[in-house]
């Protein structure tokens, strides 16, 4: 199996520890991981703004870097969703198609491909609010959506459940969007912030000490809101907990 690590642009720039945790975690699980060094970005920021043409360059770089791997694994449901569903600004050659279907969010890869449930080196004795991003829930279907009449399930939760000492607390609105939404966070700043504040308060109100997610973009936004309001909450990526971070 040839497995490549995709590190989203803002994780590379601002949260390298998440990229490192992802890499170390996969290595702990016995995976030999390639990191194509010419990678930049999946193209989502341009594409989500409707700028299809402007996304093509980044998408081409992505497709080139990740050609010929069996799995392309990245710690971001939103970026992986873009690759699988929207990497369409470039010609859909058979290589591009393969890249797209080979793209997996870290949670999906651990849960569905490696089918791992135990992380014996992990310990996280804290009360945790699990934030599954909208990309994770509604686009990648990593967890059930409360508005859909379907049996409840959550892949991120299944992964975290056996971590020593972890305790889950549930907010009143477990799967309402937190308001990041990419450029939305700036173009609709007032609504975005209000949503972020509501989300953080909801988690804190349920007793969460940490808010954990498979999407660092959501956490970046929530953390930004929480810190400005001087609210007492900490934020961590699922890769970090599973890799043994203590908090």
């Amino acid at each position: 199996m040839r497995i490549a690590l995709f590190v989203p642009c803002f994780i590379d720039a601002f949260y390298p520890e998440v990229g490192i945790a992802t890499l170390e975690l996969l290595e702990r699980l016995g995976i030999e991981v390639d990191y194509p060094q010419e990678q930049t970005c999946c193209g989502q920021p341009m594409a989500n703004s409707g700028a299809h043409k402007e996304a093509a360059g980044a998408e081409a770089v992505f497709a080139r870097n990740f050609a010929d791997f069996d799995y392309v694994v990245g710690p971001s449901a939103s970026c992986i969703n873009h690759v699988r569903d929207h990497l369409t600004a470039i010609e859909q050659t058979s290589s591009v198609r393969k890249v797209r279907t080979s793209a997996y969010d870290l949670t999906e890869f651990l849960h569905d491909v490696l089918e791992v449930r135990e992380f014996p080196w992990a310990e996280f004795p804290h009360r945790v609010g699990l934030h599954n991003s909208c990309s994770a829930i509604r686009h990648l279907r990593e967890a059930s959506a409360s508005e859909i009449a379907e049996p409840q399930f959550s892949k991120p939760r299944a992964l975290l459940e056996k971590v020593k000492g972890i305790e889950f607390v549930t907010p009143a609105r477990p799967d309402e969007c937190c308001g990041f939404g990419g450029t939305f966070s700036v173009t609709e700043e007032a609504v975005s912030v209000r949503m972020g504040q509501d989300k953080v308060r909801d988690h804190i109100g349920a007793g969460a000490e940490y808010i954990v997610s498979g999407d660092m973009s959501c956490l970046m936004h929530q953390q930004g809101c929480a810190e400005r309001l001087k609210l007492d909450a900490r934020f961590i990526h699922i890769a970090q907990i599973l890799n043994g971070a203590c908090g």
Partner: protein
């Protein structure tokens, strides 16, 4: 001619500053969303019903001409007079003609988004017709000279104090009395005489138009449609062509879903089926196009015609709940507004598809499975291609796009910002951090990027 572009973000920001209003608005509509969930989870076949509702609508719309013809033929056999309005103007002119021919000077009506869309009141009132909105929410909005802010609960953005103040100014209630029972009773008593007036016609909208039997189905909670239709000697029903469904039995799917989706109750208080006029009275149907056939021809966007006007997308939308329907600047707001309104005026409504986080909850609750968030995404592409993006500077996206397409350049750019990496990459913002930083802290600057760490700690020979 295009009117000014709607600035959703600015209007939303103003609404959010009204802390009591936004708190109640958000809570009230989330409560409707939860009630809807309870209904959905209580019916084993709920998701199958959504499949069926969607398929029936798509079938009907793809054969719409035949179904319209069938509907018209049967309705005419039933003694109904059918009119055809290609535009909003034609619709309004037909209504006016029907009334003035009969010497009628008052029109009492139940809720119809279509008549709002056609700006019918603005046409009739200067021509001497008194229009009385009988739905409490629509009446509030009529008195306040505002669009409805929600399809089902048109005045949901108002607090009781607002209504008390409004009624005090307009229908003579005591402005200091904020009791909601008092306010509702006042509207009942004020409106009631209009139902039994002389020289009055009644008008309803239409939730479903059944081709098989020529029946117009109207769903209300207040009973105002039944009053408007069954007291005056003339009943006019305004019908958007997308309301067609094939058979009476199909109502077994749609009526089961409508109120559950809208309000979380199994059915509205009144589900009325109008097929033929009462002896000695008249029934007229006005079929309206007003851009619907144009929309039907849009390969990506015709699915929005499946809409049954339940408002569930508004109730679930976290953006709508915090910005209020008036911030969308049109008859339709929220997610469905974002995908319909651009067909009426692309430039004016170009901001609406960007008033979304693309979270997809709207699509999940839509009883007819309109792929709302996907259409929002596609509208962004259309708006960008037609150079109507209201804010994000195209040049910024171009620069970002070029930089991210060139790994060497990109890495150089990141490195050159060095230890002073206090900026989010430019492609995330269109204005420097000022906007992000108004109400949020910025992430800390790490000492090295992942890329740099990797090269130092893991680099393998290429």
């Amino acid at each position: 001619m295009s009117k000014a572009r709607i600035d959703h973000a600015k209007a939303a920001s103003a609404f959010i500053e009204k802390t009591d209003h936004v708190a109640l608005h958000d809570k009230r509509l989330w409560d409707l969303r939860l009630k809807r969930d309870a209904q959905a989870h209580g019916i084993a076949e709920w998701e199958t019903l959504r499949d069926l509702a969607s398929s029936i609508k798509e079938h009907t719309l793809s054969h719409l001409a035949d179904y319209v013809e069938q509907f018209v033929d049967v309705a005419e056999e039933n003694g109904v007079v059918v009119h055809f309005a290609a535009t909003a103007e034609e619709h309004n002119a037909i209504v006016h003609q029907l009334l003035s021919e009969r010497g009628m000077t008052t029109l009492i009506k139940s809720k119809s988004m279509l008549t709002d869309e056609c700006a019918m009141r603005d046409y009739l009132e200067p021509r001497g017709i008194t229009v009385m909105e009988t739905d409490l929410g629509e009446r509030i909005q009529q008195l306040d000279n505002q669009d409805p802010s929600h399809m089902v609960v048109p005045a949901v953005h108002k607090l009781r104090a607002d209504v008390a103040d409004l009624f005090g100014r307009t229908i003579g209630t005591d402005p200091a009395n904020h009791d909601i029972h008092y306010l509702a009773e006042s509207q009942r008593m004020h409106t009631r005489p209009y139902f039994v007036r002389e020289k009055t016609a009644g008008m309803t909208g239409c939730n479903f138009a059944v081709a098989e039997t020529g029946t117009v189905v109207v769903c209300t909670n207040e009973g105002n449609a039944d009053l408007s239709a069954n007291v005056p000697p003339l009943h006019i029903a305004s019908i958007g062509i997308e309301k067609l469904i094939p058979r009476i039995s199909d109502l077994g799917v749609f009526v089961r879903m409508l109120s559950r989706s809208a309000l979380g109750s199994p059915i509205t208080q009144y589900t009325s089926h109008f097929r033929a006029p009462r002896p000695g009275t008249e029934m007229h149907f006005i079929l309206v196009d007003h851009g619907r056939s144009e929309r039907l021809a849009m390969e990506e966007f015709w699915y929005s015609l499946k809409c049954i006007r339940c408002g569930a997308c508004m109730n679930t939308c976290p953006v709508y709940r915090r910005s209020g329907g008036l911030s969308y600047g049109g008859t339709y707001s929220g997610p469905i507004g974002a995908i319909i309104n651009p067909t009426f005026d692309l430039r004016r409504y170009s901001a609406l598809p960007f008033a979304s986080t693309l979270n997809g909850s709207c699509t999940s609750v839509c009883p007819v499975q309109i792929n709302i968030h996907e259409q929002i995404y596609k509208w962004r592409e259309v708006i960008t291609a037609r150079h109507q993006v209201p804010f994000v500077k195209k040049e910024v996206l171009k620069v970002a796009g070029r930089l991210l397409a060139n790994p060497t350049l990109y890495r150089k750019a990141l490195a050159s910002l060095g230890g002073a990496l206090r900026r989010l990459p430019n492609f995330v913002l269109y204005n420097p951090l000022n906007i992000w930083g108004r109400q949020r802290d910025l992430p800390d600057t790490p000492k090295e990027t992942f890329h740099q760490w990797y090269l130092k700690n893991r680099k393998r020979p290429q």
